[in-house]
Every structure is written in structure tokens, then in C-alpha cells.
Symmetry: C2
Amino acid sequence: MTHLFGGLEAGGTKFVCAVGTGPDDIRAEARFPTTAPAETLHHTIEFFRQHEGLAAIGVAAFGPLDLRHDSPTYGHITSTPKPGWMNADIVGPLRQAFNLPIGFDTDVNGAALGEWRWGAGQGLDTLLYLTIGTGIGGGALVGGKPIHGLVHTEMGHFRLPHDVQADPFPGACPFHSDCFEGLASGLALEKRWGAKAETFGPNHPAWALEAKYIGLALMTVICTLSPQRIILGGGVMGQQHLFPLVRAETQQALNGYVQSPSITQHIDEYIVPPALGGRAGVSGAIALAHMALG
Amino acid sequence: MTHLFGGLEAGGTKFVCAVGTGPDDIRAEARFPTTAPAETLHHTIEFFRQHEGLAAIGVAAFGPLDLRHDSPTYGHITSTPKPGWMNADIVGPLRQAFNLPIGFDTDVNGAALGEWRWGAGQGLDTLLYLTIGTGIGGGALVGGKPIHGLVHTEMGHFRLPHDVQADPFPGACPFHSDCFEGLASGLALEKRWGAKAETFGPNHPAWALEAKYIGLALMTVICTLSPQRIILGGGVMGQQHLFPLVRAETQQALNGYVQSPSITQHIDEYIVPPALGGRAGVSGAIALAHMALG
């Protein structure tokens, strides 16, 4: 029997709700702007109410989130600067409205899980999905499940070597200045070069520097997580010409230290774009619903 | 019923073999220098042959290792520079000699598992054990199991910010110069300051710099793995006065970004020394035997 699932991609600017079985079978979809929590969740609940026979609902949300099942604030967004959303309860109103299993995780863990189930990470034990857009975030699966641990991963916020002679830009992160996100996000690109990255041609000097930082960051996650594949999504990675540069920088950064054919010989299949493209967000939410059903 | 296990701590300078049920019940032990593989494994097998009724044997070995069960070279040490040991088969000779489940993992994953079972990481889902000695390595557990993924983690080899004005030492790593190990291992301390770290008093300027690098490295693993606790072992961390400095540097590096009470309020219980001390290696090997039995 094929179950029908609800998926909510709860983003900071818009909510996308869908009903379906997977990325190739979305039977209904609705999107509305992220206004106040009560209003936005009201629209969400109204949408899902129109669809009978859901087996579970999955929520892939912007964070940071409380994912600890034994916490009184499980299912809440926690310390977001987004007005009105600090400590907003997402799962609670859905639980009250529907007597269904509710899956809940970060948008990036959802995206990783969607790619693992239907996309570029199928069958892998250990997978990293990294989105490089306005900000940088990442979701990691080990044993086919998102890592939670203390809270959840914050893949944009570790530090990298930053040669201020070669790149005097001080970094754009309000917390850490020149962490990975501070140096390499779409926002950092725009601030460093004074124009939006979409307007740069492929020979713009921004790209070599960008690939260098991404390569150093991938070295870090290869050393700390040893993923079997790395999927790079997000608006910045929409620049397809970045992939070969990033692969070369990653190899150069590792310098032969990790002796795996995936890195030394087949890096084209190791660092890859997402397979689900524009459906990644909603697919991730539906994948979380799958997992919630068990 | 309490099972009796064999544990082999296969180190680069010595092999330690033990029989017991856990760190508080080691019934026999033998140690011999790491000479050629055939000779050293011969001694190992002779030791275990003297003990009847073993339920499983665990091996915690120096690496890098092939841990992929479906690989033709599973159970081998792979690309070590140690003469004679490149591609040495560790598990094969033990399998031939004993009809027992054989657990096999890196020394640091073993140590993490030992601390998880009997020491400072009991009951946690996600745990990091980092050893800072002559070299730097780390083992991470997710869901109570070591992460393998592509190969295994290499926690000493990600890069950190390195202010060459403040610290002109170029780094000691032959692969990456100023990676974490290259900047902060015992070997790096000795090369930077021209003397062994054990000879420095607690007010030596080495320690503030050392704590800064370790704090930046812990920020990295907190962002990429989100461990519920971090255990710091190894000879350098034998300097107990480093712990408060490392905790403060970790908090400063994160700058309030990861809003968990473990970091903001209870960091004394979050970044801790190992509980098993000198028994960590053999305990790790016995813990791997436990896991192999299932």
C-alpha cells in the first residue's frame, strides 16, 4: 500500500504545503508568505484538512529548532531573529489539529533525507547535503538518519583559514565574521564584490576564491564526518561551472591524505548537484513524514 | 551471563592484548613491541589461544584502516608510512586462528566506544572522543556506533584560522602544514617552542595559543557533528590546566550561536577528560568485541 503524506516546507519567507507520495507524485500544493506564526499555521492546517487519508505529516523548517523529543519545547523554532517567530511552536498546533505522526527537522536535514530517499544519495549510509545560497547550512545523515546530537548541525559556522592579504573582506557573519558562511554565502559574495553573484560572468575572480573556501569547507566535513557523498545545492551552486573548481580545490586541500577512490579518482560522482532541484524542499518534508511513520 | 572478551590495542609502537569483561575486570594482559606484522600477530594469537571461552575479539588499531565490510581488503591497515605495515591484514590472521566474531575499528573509535560503554559518555547518542598527543585523532559515535562513512574520520586534519603574525610557526603536518594537528599536536608544540611540552610551566605562553586552536577545532566539530559531549584525552590534555582555557575558547569561538545550556551554562560537564585513563585503549578494544557480538 502506498501511503499519502503531507509535507510542509516552513521557510522564513514562504510556507509550501504539499500532499503526495514523493517528488514525482505531488497531488496538491499551496504556498503562502510567512507572516505571523498563528496565521501561517492556520493556513497550513486548512490546507491539510482538505486532504483525507494522510498517513503522516513532515515538517522541514528554518531553524534553529528544538529537536529533542524529551524537551518541553520540542517542535519549536528557538532563537531565530525573525520577528514573531522566536520560540514559535510548529509541531504543537499540527498535533492538535491532526491525530497523525508528525515528522519535524531542519530544512537541510529534510533536504538530505529527500535526496537520500529519491535523489542523489540513494542507498548511502552517510550523506551530506550542503546548501550555499544567501546563507549556508547543511544536513548530515548517518545510518540513513539525520544527526541531531546536542542540537543539530550548523554547517555554515565553522571557521576556515582566511588570508586577509589575498582577501581583505572581513566576513559577513554577525556572530563569527569570517566563518564559512561569513566568507562564502551569497550575501558574502554580494558584500565583497558590491554586486549580486548572479551578475558575475564565469570568469569573474569571485569564483576561484569561492571555490577555494568551499573546498576547504568540504575538507573539514570529510575529516569530521566522512560522508559517502556530498550534495551541493542552493542558489550559489546553481552556477554549474563552480562544481569542477570545487572538486579540484577539495582534492588540493586534502592533498592525498584521505585515500579513497571516491576522492582520488571519482570525485565527479562524489561532489554532486542535487537530483531533486526545485522539488527538494517539499520532497524533504514528505521524506520526514515517511520517517515519522516508521 | 557475562561474556569474556579478548581485546587488542594495536598501536604503532606496541600491541596490548587483554582478556576480560570490561575496564574493571581485566583478567590477563600482555604487551609486546610492534615489530613486523607476522611476528606481532603471531604473539597476539598465542596470547589469545591461552584463554578459552572467549565470546569475541575486538581490535582497536592505528590507521588508516579499511573498515568497509564488503571490501576485499577489509580489516587491513591501508596507507600507513610505518615500515612493513602498509596493507597489513590484521583481521584475516585472527579469523583464521579463531572461529569468533572479530570487531575492528580505529583506536580512537574504540576509545570513544569504551568511554560510551563504561566511562564519560555513558547513555549518549552522539559522542566525540578526541586525543591530543604526539598526533591528533578523534572518534565519533552517532546512535552509539562509530561513524565510518567513506573511510573513517580524520579529526586532526581539518584546517583552522592561523594568524601568521601572532604565530609564525608554519605547522608540522607533512600533508597540510597548518591543519589542526599541524598547529596543536604535541609534535607541533615541541617544534614551535623548541622543547617538549611536558617541560613548560602552566604559565608558558604555549598554553594560551594551544587552547585557542583547540577551542576553534571544537567549534568546528560542534558545528559539523553536534556531539552531546566532548572527551579530550591524550598526552597534551594530561595538562589539566588546559581544560578551563579550552572551555573558555570554545565558548568565545561559538559566540553564543549554538544556544544549548550544555555550552552556555554547563560547559564543565560538556568538555571533559576521559574517565578510563590508562585503561582506555584496552577498554576500547573490549568494547569493540562487545559490539561485534551484537
